[in-house]
């Protein structure tokens, strides 16, 4: 039994390495269209993983993740549009500003619980969206900001893909370290029972606020990546539709698994592109998919698969035991 466990520990880095190797050679296999689809999957995956840090691990359901995503995207876009600052600084500024905004928004939100928490996040994200939409003189409102300059070395789709891959890899590694740290375990304790966690001397609100800010930082990273990817930003990056998209991605993949949001992003983007090419009624299909998910597939895809694997293993051991006893 112990052998098996150490084997699993050893095989994990190998699996991750293989996954990265596969992702690294993708540009050789895929055409530019498919490659940019994978690029979008990665970005959406970072956003969803960032949200899941707060939702899956700390149990704080935000209805307005797009509010912070759009802050990241616009920070980058506005800096590159109005100033001569280098791309790198804009890239760092995006998550920093998104983090600061989350600190302010989160400070209010963590004072509430359950549905009121969620409603407050929704209200704040709507305000952010309204400001961006209406402040025409600064943000160009509905027209969005287009033709954003990016440095030459990431201008081609292949190079931008590698760039996204590196940033997404770093982000996921950081989120992994956060959720596996004592801090991450405390968040999970808060998710399971906030009262008891408070009783053992943990200041729940501070932890929740920290989770809120960290989540906002990664949403900001994703927003900035998308800004660089599309060379443009629009207010609807921050609307309720985008928020729901990020939420659906988390739920589709499974919110109680680290890779759930990433898997969700891949499946979601694939469905989006494939179905949209057949019919203009993608929202209808998406709606039906969500209904089925919520009612039948609560653990998401990853949850479903791990459950099946666990069941298969159980059956195997049961069979083996039967064999031994007979």
């Amino acid at each position: 039994m112990e052998d098996k466990k150490s084997q699993a520990v050893k095989s994990k880095p190998i699996a991750i390495g293989m996954a990265f190797a596969l992702l690294a050679i993708l540009p050789q296999i895929l055409g530019p269209g498919d490659l940019s689809l994978v690029n979008e999957m990665l970005i959406l995956g970072v956003a969803a993983s960032g949200l899941n840090l707060m939702m899956g691990y700390a149990g704080m359901v935000s209805f307005g993740p797009a509010g912070l995503y759009v802050v990241g995207a616009y920070t980058m876009a506005l800096l590159l549009f109005y100033t001569e600052l280098p791309f790198g600084i804009a890239l760092v500024a995006a998550p920093v500003i998104a983090g600061i905004v989350s600190l302010v928004v989160g400070w209010f939100c963590v004072r509430l619980t359950h549905v009121y928490f969620s409603l407050l996040t929704l209200a704040f994200s709507q305000i952010i969206h309204t400001i961006i939409f209406e402040w025409y003189g600064f943000t160009k409102g509905d027209d969005g900001i287009v033709d954003i300059r990016v440095p030459g070395f990431i201008d081609s789709i292949t190079n931008y893909y590698y760039f996204t891959l590196i940033i997404a890899g770093i982000s996921l590694a950081l989120i992994w370290m956060i959720v596996k740290s004592p801090f991450g375990k405390t968040l999970q304790a808060i998710r399971e029972n906030p009262d008891r966690t408070e009783f053992i001397g943990i200041h729940v609100r501070s932890y929740q606020l920290a989770a809120f800010v960290l989540s906002g930082v990664f949403l900001g990273v994703a927003g900035a990546l998308y800004c660089g990817f599309s060379h443009s930003v629009f207010p609807d990056f921050g609307d309720i539709m985008k928020s729901t998209e990020i939420l659906v991605v988390c739920l589709l993949g499974g919110i109680y698994h680290f890779l759930g949001p990433m898997v969700g992003a891949v499946v979601y983007m694939f469905l989006d592109k494939t179905i949209s090419s057949y019919t203009e009624y993608w929202p209808l299909v998406l709606g039906v998919v969500i209904v089925l998910l919520v009612i039948f597939l609560r653990g998401g895809i990853v949850g479903f698969v791990t459950e099946k694997i666990a069941m298969a293993k159980q059956r195997k051991t049961a069979e083996a035991e039967d064999y031994v006893s007979s």
């Binding site: 939702m55 004072r111 359950h114 549905v115 409603l119 209200a123 305000i127 929202p283 919520v294 009612i295």
Partner: protein, 282 residues
């Protein structure tokens, strides 16, 4: 004047939303989609009947009932399965309903806008002291408070109302006392949908019936219900008045940011009194 009558309709829709949350404890994002469905059905029924005098009145009667029926089916097939779930599941399921209902309306009636004629005998304006008042708007301004009063008496004065309040207050206890809770849930959800559908039918002669007409109403209703208190009927009334005043004030000082004033109002109330002005803390 037209602002006031639209406000009255939104108030009716908000009452339905609040009623559903109060009893079912479900945050129904799709509430405004039922409103849109009501408007489309009103257009559809009245165009089926044709150009007779009473066609609007017949469809005003039928369309909300159809919406209620549809709502009942949705409750029994879908919502019933998620009452014990977390708020995330409710959010996603009801959001999915928005997408589904929106696209079904597009499939059935196309993306073009439709209009419904202002019905006889309300199609002529009233002239009072040199000012012109559209009669239809006056009708709504009188009709909505009457309906609200009727609903209030239904909930607070009748036996059926006391059953609804019992279920709202304590589901298990009511169930133990022999109340069929799932009937009450379906009934209340249908009543809420009926109100939304009625709102849609009432709006049809005043504005174009088209895809996306639900989005604005949804946001307004949410602000009203949160401000007034989720689940409180009188709260919905107070919320509507305050929301109307704040929005009017917002339009006066910063027209472009008028929507933001509504959200700021909602945020302030959520922070100070999360259960709303007239609601009760859990």
């Amino acid at each position: 004047m037209s602002g006031l009558s639209v406000g009255m309709v939104i108030f009716l829709i908000a009452v339905g939303l609040s009623l559903i949350f109060g009893t079912l404890k479900v945050l129904n994002l799709a509430h405004a989609a039922f409103y849109m469905l009501g408007a489309y059905l009103c257009f559809w029924v009245s165009s089926l009947i044709g150009q007779s005098i009473g066609s609007f009145w017949v469809s005003l009667l039928i369309a909300p009932l159809l919406v209620a029926l549809f709502g009942g089916i949705v409750e029994m097939l879908l919502l019933r399965k998620i009452y014990d779930r977390e708020v995330l599941d409710q959010f996603l399921l009801t959001f999915a309903l928005i997408l589904i209902i929106g696209d079904l309306c597009k499939l059935a009636w196309g993306v073009d806008y439709h209009t419904v004629d202002t019905p006889w005998p309300l199609n002529a304006p009233v002239i009072f002291k040199g000012l012109i008042f559209p009669r239809y708007n006056l009708f709504i301004i009188l009709f909505a408070p009457l309906l609200w009063a009727g609903l209030w008496s239904l909930i607070h004065k009748t036996r059926l109302g006391s059953i609804i309040r019992a279920v709202t207050h304590n589901r298990e206890m009511a169930s133990a006392l022999g109340v069929n809770v799932s009937y009450v849930y379906t009934g209340v959800f249908m009543l809420g949908c009926w109100l939304a559908g009625l709102g849609g039918a009432l709006v049809a002669p005043m504005s174009a019936v088209m895809p996306g007409m639900d989005a604005v109403v949804l946001i307004d209703c949410f602000i009203i219900v949160v401000v007034g208190g989720l689940g409180s009927l009188s709260g919905a009334f107070l919320g509507s008045v305050i929301f109307g005043l704040v929005t009017a004030f917002g339009i006066l000082i910063a027209p472009r940011l008028a929507i933001a004033f509504g959200f700021i109002l909602m945020i302030v109330v959520l922070i100070i009194r999360p259960w709303g002005l007239m609601g009760k803390p859990e």
